[in-house]
C-alpha cells in the first residue's frame, strides 16, 4: 500500500537499462576500511598530539586570559595600548617569554586542531594533502614571523 514515492537522490543511469544483469553501483561511503588499511603508522605522534592539545589548552587559558586582562581591562582598557605601551612591555624578558609562549602554543594548538578537522572532513586524499600543506605553511610562517618580531623588536625604530 505504497502511498507515495519521492526520489531523494539522483544517480546516473548508464547507456544500458538497469536490471539484474546490469545493476546500478551500490552506494559507497568515503574511504572504506580494507584488509590492507591498518599498520599505517607505528609512532606515538597522535598520542603526543592528543596530550599536547590538553596541556597547551590548560596553559593557554591562563596566558590568553591574562593577556586579554592586561590589554583590554586593566589600566584604562584598550585605549592605553600604543607603540610605547608595547615597547615598554617587551623591554622585560618576562613579557617576551609570555608572548612567545602564547604565540607558539596558540599556533601549534590551533594548527593541530585544524589538522584533525581536515583529517576528519576532507574526503579526497589530494584535498586533504593540499589543505594540510597550506595549513603547515601558514603556521610555520606565522610562528617564524612572530618569533622574529619578539626577539628583534627595536623600540627606537624610526
Amino acid at each position: 500500500m505504497s502511498t507515495e514515492t519521492t526520489p531523494a537522490n539522483s544517480g546516473t543511469a548508464g547507456e544500458r537499462p538497469i536490471g539484474p544483469d546490469n545493476p546500478a553501483p551500490v552506494i559507497e561511503p568515503p574511504r572504506t576500511r580494507t584488509g590492507r588499511s591498518p599498520r599505517s603508522t607505528r609512532t606515538n605522534f597522535e598520542l603526543h598530539g592528543w596530550l599536547f592539545m590538553r596541556l597547551s589548552g590548560i596553559l593557554l587559558v591562563f596566558l590568553v586570559l591574562g593577556h586579554l586582562l592586561i590589554q583590554l581591562v586593566l589600566d584604562g582598557g584598550v585605549s592605553k595600548v600604543s607603540f610605547a605601551f608595547v615597547a615598554g612591555r617587551w623591554a622585560s624578558p618576562f613579557w617576551q617569554v609570555w608572548d612567545l609562549l602564547m604565540l607558539w602554543l596558540a599556533m601549534l594548538h590551533g594548527a593541530n586542531g585544524l589538522r584533525t578537522i581536515i583529517n576528519d572532513y576532507a574526503q579526497r586524499d589530494n584535498t586533504r594533502f593540499w589543505l594540510k600543506m597550506l595549513l603547515y605553511t601558514a603556521t610555520v610562517f606565522t610562528i617564524l614571523l612572530g618569533t622574529l618580531v619578539i626577539f628583534t623588536f627595536d623600540p627606537n625604530i624610526r
Binding site: 500500500m1 505504497s2 502511498t3 507515495e4 514515492t5 519521492t6 526520489p7 531523494a8 537522490n9 539522483s10 544517480g11 546516473t12 543511469a13 538497469i18 536490471g19 539484474p20 545493476p23 546500478a24 553501483p25 551500490v26 552506494i27 559507497e28 561511503p29 568515503p30 574511504r31 572504506t32 576500511r33 580494507t34 584488509g35 588499511s37 591498518p38 599498520r39 599505517s40 603508522t41 607505528r42 606515538n44 605522534f45 597522535e46 598520542l47 598530539g49 592528543w50 596530550l51 584533525t116 583529517n119 576528519d120 572532513y121 574526503q123
Partner: protein, 257 residues
Amino acid sequence: MSTATVEKETTGAPDGGSAASHKISVTFRLRRFNPEVSAEVTWQDFRIDIDPKERVLDALHQIKWEEDGTLTFRRSCAHGICGSDAMRINGRNRLACKTLIKDLNPAKPITVEPIKGLTVLKDLVVDMEPFFQAYRDVMPFLITSGNEPTRERRQSAADRERFDDTTKCILCAACTSSCPVFWNDGQYFGPAAIVNAHRFIFDSRDEGGEQRLEILNEKEGVWRCRTTFNCSEACPRGIEVTKAIQEVKRAIITRRF
C-alpha cells in the same frame, strides 16, 4: 503446538473486533534502494494497521509479508541478541527488534534507513565487511603464553568486573555507524572494535594487551575519537562505549609515561 493454534482460532473469532480496535494506523517511511531496478534512492511510505506495543521489526515483517515482498532487511534472532537488525529509526541507530512503536511517536511517519557509513547493498542491508575488518584488526581473542593450564583459567570476581561492560557487545554496528568520524573516514577503527579490544585489554587472563594498545595507538586508532557520545547513546546493550574508549586512551598514556 497444535493446541495453541486451535486456542488462537477459537479466541480470535469473538475478539476479532476488539483485536482490531487496539491497532493504530502508522506510516512507515522506508529508504529504498535496489541497484537491480534503479540507481536512485527513494523514500517509500507504507501505512499499516498495527498494535503500538509491537516492535518496528514486526512492522517491517508485516510490510514484507503483506505489502511488498521486495523489501530487504537483515534479522536473525529478533530478540536483541544477534545484532543483525541495527538500523536508523527516526534518525537514531537502534535495533528494530528492541524498538517499540509506541515509544516512537506513531502519529508522525516513522523513518527507517540503513545504518550510515557502510556500503548500502539493497534497502536496509549494508556491507558489514569493513566493520568486521576493524574488529579482526584488534585481535579479539585470548592471547596467552606458557603452558596451557589443565583446568580453567581462574579469575577473581573483581577482575571479571573490570571489563564486564564491554563483554555485552553484540557487534550490531549501531555505535560505529553512529560515529561522525566513521561516517567521513571509514579508516577509523570505530567504537565497536575499540570496545572489543577493551574487553581483552582489561582481562587479567590475557597477555596481548600491549599489542592491542599498540594497534589502537595508530593514526586511525583511539586518538580519532572526538567524544561526541553518539556511540554510547546508540548502543542497544547500554554499554558505556565512550567511557571504554577513554579507558583505552588512558591505558595507552599510562603505559607510555
